[in-house]
């Protein structure tokens, strides 16, 4: 039993999780019938899938507390550093064509009270990008990765969390309306580490993120929260895969979305694999969609693959629906107008996710963003 856990586990055979690979050729141009592409708007995503060089970058604005450093590594060096190889064509192209990965390191043992903040701003170009976060053992930090502006952005993001570290990784997609954003965020949870990710997708024409996570040893804990607000003509897709590849690990996924307007489309895939070795684990996945108007479509697909019965618990739930009439009746029976009651319910629906961000200024910004989104359709009622 001397072999490290990662190497001891068997290969994944499920068609839901294509084998990760840096080789672009291992990820052929999709035709739309593939399991991982069948919900995606391939035509709109063409720039993210087409192998054309680009030297452009997003504008990088950082605010780092003491204990955080950054440097660039070559694509070859980056391959040895990542949490996981690219899982789809977009992220494979991103890693191969980025010209190098930006590495951000949180020192081991650092106790950061201020967030590690990075804002990536698009200026209209097509960009291949790769960012690697190395979170040192036994450190405590909040990392904020914000995306703004206009771009076609294909990305690979790796978050390597050292043993015993506690990290809150917040990724915000607050793009301009015409932005395209596709890629792969992969998290490696260290032994006894505690990881929370919060993914907020609001803007952009297409946002399609594969978010995968696995464990570097036993005892790790992973919480993944997500919030999305989809407007007319927008496609927002989050594809989660939690690989319970180590015993006594825990995961909890809670994604919530609201949709409004003609052609608003959300996709949520929540895959969990519990490998034979992963005894004593617990996992729960939840996705809730609130459909605010006609003409929207929400796809929500939880999948649980269990290869051992020796676990604490595993479950998932998925709900997609309109407003709860009983909630609206209760609020309105206190004199609150229908429009205001709806706003209260939606705010409440998201507040539970937003409070996980842990950075008050960003939480307020997100609540205000939800408020703005709501005014699109609900302003008319008031």
């Amino acid at each position: 039993m001397a072999a490290p856990v990662i190497e001891a586990v068997e290969a994944i055979e499920s068609h839901l999780h294509p084998t990760p690979s840096f080789a672009v050729d291992d990820h052929p141009y999709p035709n739309g019938r593939e399991e991982i592409w069948r919900f995606s708007p391939l035509r709109a995503m063409r720039p993210l899938l087409t192998d054309e060089p680009s030297d452009a970058h997003l504008q990088w604005t950082e605010s780092f507390p003491e204990g955080v450093s950054t440097h660039v590594v070559s694509p070859t060096e980056a391959k040895l550093l990542v949490a996981e190889a690219p899982i789809d064509r977009v992220s494979a192209l991103a890693a191969a064509r980025s010209g190098g990965a930006q590495v951000v390191e949180v020192a081991a043992g650092a106790e950061l009270t201020e967030p590690v903040s990075i804002t990536l701003t698009g200026t209209g170009a097509h960009v291949w990008g790769h960012v690697i976060f190395k979170v040192g053992a036994n450190s405590t930090s909040t990392i904020l990765l914000r995306h703004e502006g206009s771009a076609s952005y294909a990305t690979k993001v790796d978050v390597l969390v050292g043993d015993g570290a506690r990290v809150n990784f917040v990724s915000i997609q607050d793009w301009a309306d015409d932005a395209l954003h596709g890629g792969h965020h992969s998290v490696l949870v260290g032994r006894d580490a505690s990881v929370r990710t919060v993914t907020v997708s609001l803007g952009g024409k297409v946002v399609r993120l594969a978010e995968t996570a696995r464990f570097a040893g036993p005892g790790g804990s992973l919480e993944q929260f997500g919030l999305y607000f989809v407007d007319a003509g927008q496609h927002i897709e989050h594809r989660l895969f939690v690989d319970h590849n180590a015993p006594h690990t825990h995961s909890n996924v809670d994604y919530r979305g609201a949709l409004q307007g003609e052609g608003a489309r959300s996709v949520w895939i929540g895959d969990v694999l519990i490998r034979k070795i992963a005894e004593g684990i617990s996992t729960f996945e939840s996705n809730k969609n609130l459909v605010l108007t006609d003409g929207c479509r929400a796809d929500s697909v939880p999948n649980l693959e269990i290869e051992t019965g020796e676990i604490e618990g595993a479950g998932h739930s998925s709900t997609t629906g309109r407003f709860d009439d009983e909630q609206l009746f209760y609020l309105r029976s206190r004199g609150i107008s229908e429009a205001e009651a709806r706003r209260l319910v939606v705010r409440g629906f998201f507040a539970d996710i937003i409070r996980r961000i842990g950075v008050p200024e960003v939480e307020e910004h997100m609540l205000a963003a939800v408020e703005r989104e709501l005014s699109v359709t609900m302003g008319a009622y008031a």
Binding site: Q327, S337, R347
Partner: protein, 254 residues
């Protein structure tokens, strides 16, 4: 002086086998300053009466009227009825995750009075109302009804009753599921509300227990979708001894 008048109210509900009439001509007048108890067996339609007056979408009014000081309530939306002065304390208050009690109360108060309450005095008022119902100030930070015990839900309804202070309050089985201490605390809240003298109370209950704490001026026995008998407090005492059997049999025979 205000008056809530229910005149020959007929209400039906949609079922799998088609519409079913639940209220079969209810007549009742409640004036401010009065406490009316409506008592009846399970399934008699007394909760339907409460929800139909409040405007729950599940119920369809097919005849009759409900007026508050001459304003026809059945033509108004749910929130318009509340703004007209009506309040329903629910038997099963609804959970609204992520909406704090404080935010809910402030929003409701603003909607009812047409202007936001003054921050400083309002927080004091809320805390005082919570305290009177035996609830901690921290209660107002909790999500509305989410994870509340049955007793906490009912206390929270009475906190709202006191803070929103409507002209007429309908209390739907507010006593059900309460232990004796909670029943006393909740009843005291209702009595404080009624003691203002210009408010009306319609107290719906299955049991006579709550009438040991809240003294009704009038008692109505509700059977099979209509009022079967009316009287003073002594009628409740008779029910305590005889039960509803006599009325149920009479309704079945008619």
């Amino acid at each position: 002086m205000s008056t809530l008048t229910i005149d020959d109210l007929r209400v039906e509900v949609a079922t799998e086998t088609g519409p079913k009439e639940i209220l079969k001509g209810v007549n009742l007048t409640v004036s401010s300053g009065e406490v009316h108890a409506i008592m009846g067996p399970n399934g008699s339609g007394k909760s339907t009466l409460a929800y139909a007056i409040a405007g729950h979408p599940k119920y369809t009014v097919t005849g009759g009227s409900v007026t508050l000081d001459g304003v026809e309530l059945t033509k108004l939306t749910v929130d318009e009825r509340a703004r007209a002065g009506l309040f329903l304390a629910m038997q099963y208050p609804i959970e609204v995750p992520g909406v704090s009690v404080a935010n809910f109360l402030r929003t409701a108060k603003t909607a009812l009075s047409g202007e936001a309450p003054k921050v400083r005095t309002w927080v004091k008022e809320v805390n005082a109302a919570l305290d009177r119902l035996g609830l901690d100030p921290a209660f107002s930070a909790r999500s509305l009804n989410e994870g509340f015990s049955g007793g906490e839900k009912k206390r929270n309804e009475i906190v709202q009753l006191e803070l929103l202070n409507p002209k007429f309050a309908i209390l739907d089985e507010t006593d059900s599921g309460l232990d004796i201490d909670a029943l006393r605390i909740v009843s005291e809240g209702v009595n404080r509300f009624a003691a203002q003298g210009d408010r009306g109370v319609l107290l719906i209950t299955h049991y006579t227990r709550i009438l040991n704490y809240i003294k009704p001026d009038f008692v109505h026995v509700f059977v099979d979708g209509r009022i079967a008998e009316e009287g003073g407090p002594e009628l409740a005492e008779n029910l305590e001894i005889e039960g509803y059997e006599r009325f149920v049999k009479a309704a079945a025979a008619s």
